[in-house]
């Protein structure tokens, strides 16, 4: 288990060198949906909106995504990101750059 939620089973790691992952983001809340749907979200680790998780491309995960397809956004990516990397992605452009650090 890496920093972000990644579950790479042993056989899926060995049979394919170029592994790809689903990047799943919960965009719509599961509140008020059937228990089974909410359970799938919980199983995927999507507890809050805008939470992003990574899972290897397997039929099991695909089936889970199909259950919650109206609530999530999915991308196929080459490697999972950690929570710190995801946070870095969201950091806005500061609007300046340092030419040279001034001595203090």
């Amino acid at each position: 288990m890496l920093g972000s939620r990644v579950r790479a089973t042993k056989d899926s790691l060995t049979d394919n060198v170029t592994m790809s992952y689903f990047r799943i983001t919960l965009t719509r809340s599961g509140i008020g949906m059937p228990k089974r749907t909410q359970g799938v979200l919980k199983a995927l680790g999507l507890r809050h909106r805008m939470r992003t998780v990574f899972y290897p491309v397997t039929p099991e995960v695909a089936g889970q995504i199909m259950r919650v397809k109206e609530l999530v956004e999915v991308q196929e990516v080459d490697k999972p990101l950690t929570r710190a990397e995801l946070r870095e992605e969201r950091r806005p452009d500061p609007g300046f750059y340092l030419e040279k650090a001034a001595p203090r």
């Binding site: 394919n16 790809s20 689903f22 719509r28 008020g32 949906m33 491309v57 397997t58 039929p59 695909a62 089936g63 995504i65 199909m66 259950r67 397809k69 109206e70 609530l71 999530v72 956004e73 999915v74 991308q75 196929e76």
Partner: protein, 110 residues
């Protein structure tokens, strides 16, 4: 006719909710956007699984049964079948959780 005690619908009947039957053009636009978002998710899954030459029952069944947004007729996008309604159709907003469920096909002929 005028005044504080005029017999309006809400005063004589108590609770009165007026829900417009039709969706506005903005609501319809958002409905189409949601439909396309689901299509994108399914397409992404299908593409990712096809690369590994895996097929999943859920995805295959969806592709077989459900039309994509561009294939749907407007009638199916914004209204749903109801046997109790006049002309057998009611606005899709009457469907509980209609922004978060997939309701695309209706009985043929209605």
């Amino acid at each position: 006719m005028f005044g504080a005690f005029r017999p309006t619908n809400s005063l004589s009947g108590g609770l009165l909710w007026k829900i417009p039957w039709r969706l506005s053009k903005f609501q319809k636009a958002r409905q189409r956007k949601r439909l396309r978002a689901v299509d994108t998710v399914v397409a992404t899954l299908d593409k990712a699984l096809a690369k590994k030459s895996i097929t999943t029952k859920a995805v295959e069944r969806w592709k077989e049964e459900m039309p994509i947004e561009q294939e749907m007729v407007p009638k199916d996008k914004y209204t749903i079948f109801d046997r109790k309604e006049k002309k057998y159709r009611k606005s899709i907003r009457k469907l509980p959780k209609w922004t978060r469920v997939s309701q695309r096909v209706n009985p043929p002929g209605y």
